[in-house]
C-alpha cells in the first residue's frame, strides 16, 4: 500500500478540491445525524464518516458518461457523483424535490442525470447490475466504465462470485471497488470469511486486483485512475480493495458492542481529512485562512441544502401508485399496470393490484 508521504502532494488546487470533496461528504452526514436525532428524517441511516477518501478518490477518475452503482451507505457517492446535497436531503425528508421523489430514502438514492444507479440495500445486489451495465456498453461499442462500490460483507454472498466470474469471463468494462471497513454490520471480517484477503478472491477469477490504503485519498485516486484507464482501454474488469474504516456505528440503531473504542480511536488518528490537511500544511499549501474559508463554503452549501429540503413539499399521496409501472402514452394519468390496476387503484388511493 502507498501512503500520502510516499507520493507527495499534487498541485494545491487539486489538493484543495479533494479536501473539499471529502469535507462536503463529512458535513452532509454530520447534518444527517443531527436531522435524524431531531426526527426530521427517519428510516435507516448509515453514514460514511471515516470512509470519505474512497468515494472522493474514485470519483476523480470517472467521466460523466460512466456509471456508478453503490450500496445503502451511499450519500457520499451520490453527492460526489453530482447529485445535489439538497436533492439528497429532500429525499430523506420524503419530499417531492428528493432525487427519488420520496420513494427511495437514505438507502435508495438514484439519479439518471449522473448515471447513479443506487442506492442498493441488499449488500451484493448491485454487482450483477454493474456487470449488466458494462455488458450493455460492451455490446453497444461504447467506451464507458461502470464502477461498483460494495462492502466487504458482500463477498460472502453468491452474487459476488457470480458477478466476478461473469465480468471476467466476458471481459466487461467494470471496476469493482470493495470498501473493506472490516465489519459487516457487527461481524468482523475474520469471523465471516475463511480467506480475508479480498483482493486475492478477485485474483482467483483472473481479475486484476490490488489493495489500497482507503484512508489516503491520493492513493485511492491514483489507484482508481490506473484501474479506470485500464478498464476503459479494454483491459477487462479490475478490482480495488480499499482498506478503510467507519468511525461511526453501522446505523443509528447500532450500540457498537462488537468493537473496542480503542480500535476506533486508533483508526481516527488516520482520519482521511486530517491526513490530507496535515500533508498539505506540511507542504505549505493550506494557510489557516484558506482552511477556514473552505469550511465556511462547505457549511454554506449544506446549510442551503437543509433549507431546500426543509421547505420542500411532501410527495402527494395521490401519486403513490405512480412508477409501479411506467406511464404509457395512452395512460398518462394513473401509471397503473393494466386495465384493472389502472382503473381502480389510482382512483381508490390504494396500492393493491
Amino acid at each position: 500500500m502507498t501512503t500520502l508521504r510516499s507520493q507527495g502532494i499534487p498541485d494545491a488546487e487539486h489538493a484543495v478540491h479533494l479536501l473539499r470533496q471529502m469535507l462536503r461528504v463529512r458535513r452532509l452526514e454530520e447534518k444527517c445525524i443531527e436531522l435524524y436525532s431531531a426526527a426530521k428524517i427517519r428510516g435507516f441511516l448509515h453514514v460514511y464518516i471515516g470512509e470519505e477518501a474512497v468515494a472522493a478518490g474514485v470519483m476523480e477518475a470517472l467521466e460523466p458518461e460512466d456509471a456508478v452503482v453503490a450500496t445503502y451507505r451511499e450519500h457520499g457517492h451520490a453527492l460526489l457523483r453530482g447529485v445535489s446535497a439538497g436533492a439528497i436531503l429532500a429525499e430523506m425528508y420524503g419530499h417531492a424535490e428528493g432525487c427519488c421523489r420520496g420513494r427511495g430514502g437514505s438507502m435508495h438514492l438514484f439519479d439518471a442525470a449522473t448515471r447513479f444507479y443506487g442506492g442498493n440495500a441488499i449488500v451484493v445486489s448491485g454487482l450483477p447490475l454493474a456487470v449488466g451495465l458494462a455488458l450493455a456498453d460492451r455490446m453497444a461499442g461504447r467506451q464507458r466504465v461502470t464502477v461498483c462500490f460494495f462492502g466487504e460483507g458482500a463477498v460472502a454472498e453468491g452474487e459476488f462470485h457470480e458477478s466476478m466470474n461473469l465480468a471476467a469471463l466476458w471481459q466487461l468494462p467494470v471496476l469493482f471497488c470493495c470498501e473493506n471497513n472490516l465489519y459487516a454490520m457487527g461481524t468482523a471480517l475474520g469471523r465471516s470469511e475463511s480467506q480475508t484477503d479480498i483482493a486475492l478472491k478477485a485474483d482467483g477469477y483472473e481479475i486484476s486486483a490490488w489493495a489500497v490504503d482507503g484512508m489516503d485519498v491520493l492513493a485511492v485516486e491514483e489507484a482508481a485512475r490506473r484501474a479506470v484507464d485500464a478498464v476503459r482501454s479494454g483491459g477487462g474488469p479490475h478490482f480495488l480493495e480499499l482498506r478503510t474504516y467507519r468511525f461511526r456505528a453501522h446505523s443509528m440503531f447500532d450500540p457498537e458492542l462488537y468493537r473496542e473504542k480503542s480500535e476506533v480511536t486508533r483508526w481516527m488518528e488516520r482520519d482521511p481529512i486530517s491526513l490530507l490537511r496535515a500533508a498539505m500544511q506540511a507542504a505549505g499549501q493550506l494557510p489557516e485562512k484558506d482552511w477556514a474559508a473552505l469550511q465556511a463554503d462547505v457549511d454554506a452549501e449544506i446549510s442551503t441544502a437543509v433549507g431546500f429540503a426543509e421547505n420542500g413539499t411532501p410527495e402527494p399521496v395521490s401519486e403513490l401508485s405512480r412508477f409501479v409501472y411506467s406511464d404509457r402514452p395512452d395512460d398518462a394519468s394513473a401509471g397503473g399496470g393494466g386495465p384493472e390496476e389502472r382503473g381502480t387503484t389510482a382512483g381508490k388511493g390504494g396500492a393493491a393490484g
Partner: protein, 326 residues
C-alpha cells in the same frame, strides 16, 4: 401454416432479433446446446455468440446482468431453464427488476423480458415441475404472461419487448410440442386482455397456460352433458383482466378456476376472491377451484397425474357448480 408452440417461440425470438439490434438472448444453454427445450435451436448460427449468449449456471448473476443491460439501454431476453431455478434469482427479479422504477421515482425503467418454463406432467420430479407463476403475480412492478396458444407463443414476446417494464413469460413444458395452424402473418398480440376462447351460458371456466388444453377438452365433454361453458384464457396473470372474468360470470353465474399451482395462496385464490368482491350477487353457486394437490410434485407417473388438475376433476367441479352432482 402448420407449426408448433416451440417453433412459434423461436420465430418470435428471430423476429425480435431482426427488428431491434438491442435485443439479445441470454441464458443457460441457449447457444451451442440450442436451448434446453430447443427453443433457440439454430439461432446461434444465425445471430452469433454476442447476441445468443450462453451463461454459466448462475441465475442471479445473469438475471441481474440482464437487468443491468436493460438499464444500460439494451433489450435483453433472459431464459431461465425452469421456474424452480428462477428462485436463485429472486433477489434480482423482486428486489431490483420490480422495484427500481418506483424506488428511483420514475427515473429507471427495466425493459427486460425473462422467459422460463413452468409446470409438471413430464415425470421430472419436484425440483423441475412446480408452477410458481402465481407467486410472481403477487409482485407489483412485474407483468406476468402465460402464453397457452400458438398465436400467443408467436406474438407475446414482441409486445413484451415493447413494454418499458419487466415482463416474465411462463411457458408450460407440456406445450412445446403442441402443433397446429397459425396464420402466416401472425405477429405481435395484445398482452392486456384475457380471451374468451369458447362461449357458453352455463358456467365460466377460467384458466391459463398449460391447463388450457384440458379445460377446453372438459368444456367439450360438458357440452355433451348439456352444460355449455365459457372458457377464459387469462393470458396475463398480472395485471389481471378482471373485466373479462366479471362479464362472463355476469352471464353464466358460475365459475370454476383451474390452476396448476397449489390452492393455498394461489392465483386461483386471487381470482376467486375478486369474483366474490366484484360479482358476488351474480353468483348462483360457490366459486370452485381445481388446483394441484398440496404435495411436492412426485416422480411416479400415477402419483404425478393424481396430483395435477385433470379433465375429470374440472368436469366434476363444473357439475357441482351447476348442481348436477359432482
Amino acid at each position: 401454416m402448420k407449426t408448433t408452440y416451440r417453433e412459434a417461440m423461436r420465430a418470435a425470438l428471430r423476429d425480435a432479433m431482426k427488428r431491434d439490434e438491442r435485443v439479445f438472448l441470454m441464458g443457460e444453454d441457449v447457444g451451442r446446446y440450442g436451448g434446453s427445450f430447443a427453443v433457440s435451436l439454430g439461432l446461434l448460427e444465425e445471430f452469433g455468440p454476442d447476441r445468443i449468449r450462453d451463461t454459466p449456471l448462475s441465475e442471479s448473476g445473469f438475471v441481474g446482468a440482464g437487468i443491468g443491460a436493460a438499464l444500460g439501454g439494451m433489450r435483453p431476453v433472459v431464459e431461465i431453464m425452469t421456474v424452480n431455478f428462477s428462485l436463485l434469482a429472486l433477489d434480482q427479479i423482486i428486489n431490483n427488476a420490480a422495484t427500481l422504477l418506483h424506488m428511483s421515482g420514475g427515473q429507471f425503467n427495466v425493459p427486460i423480458v425473462i422467459r422460463m418454463t413452468t409446470g409438471a406432467g413430464r415425470q421430472l420430479g419436484a425440483q423441475h415441475s412446480h408452477s410458481l407463476e402465481g407467486w410472481y403475480a403477487h409482485i407489483p412492478g412485474l407483468r406476468i404472461l402465460a402464453p397457452a396458444t400458438l398465436a400467443d407463443a408467436r406474438g407475446m414476446l414482441w409486445t413484451a419487448l415493447q413494454d418499458p417494464d419487466p415482463v416474465l413469460i411462463f411457458e408450460h413444458g407440456s406445450l412445446y410440442n403442441v402443433a397446429g395452424e397459425l396464420d402466416d402473418d401472425a405477429g405481435a398480440v395484445d398482452i392486456d386482455k384475457a380471451t374468451l376462447l369458447r362461449e357458453g351460458d352455463a358456467i365460466t371456466l377460467i384458466t391459463y397456460g398449460g391447463t388450457l388444453p384440458l379445460v377446453l377438452e372438459a368444456a367439450e365433454q360438458l357440452d355433451g352433458e348439456g352444460i355449455d361453458a365459457d372458457v377464459i384464457d387469462l393470458r396475463t396473470l398480472r395485471p389481471l383482466d378482471a373485466h373479462t372474468i366479471m362479464d362472463s360470470v355476469a352471464r353464466t353465474h358460475r365459475a370454476v378456476v383451474v390452476d396448476e399451482g397449489w390452492r393455498s395462496g394461489s392465483i386461483s385464490a386471487e381470482i376467486a376472491a375478486r369474483i366474490c368482491e366484484q360479482a358476488f350477487f351474480d353468483l348462483d353457486a360457490p366459486v370452485e377451484r381445481v388446483c394441484s394437490l398440496e404435495v411436492p410434485v412426485p416422480y411416479a407417473k400415477h402419483l404425478e397425474q393424481a396430483a395435477l388438475p385433470s379433465v375429470e376433476r374440472v368436469m366434476a367441479a363444473a357439475r357441482r357448480a351447476v348442481g348436477a352432482g359432482g
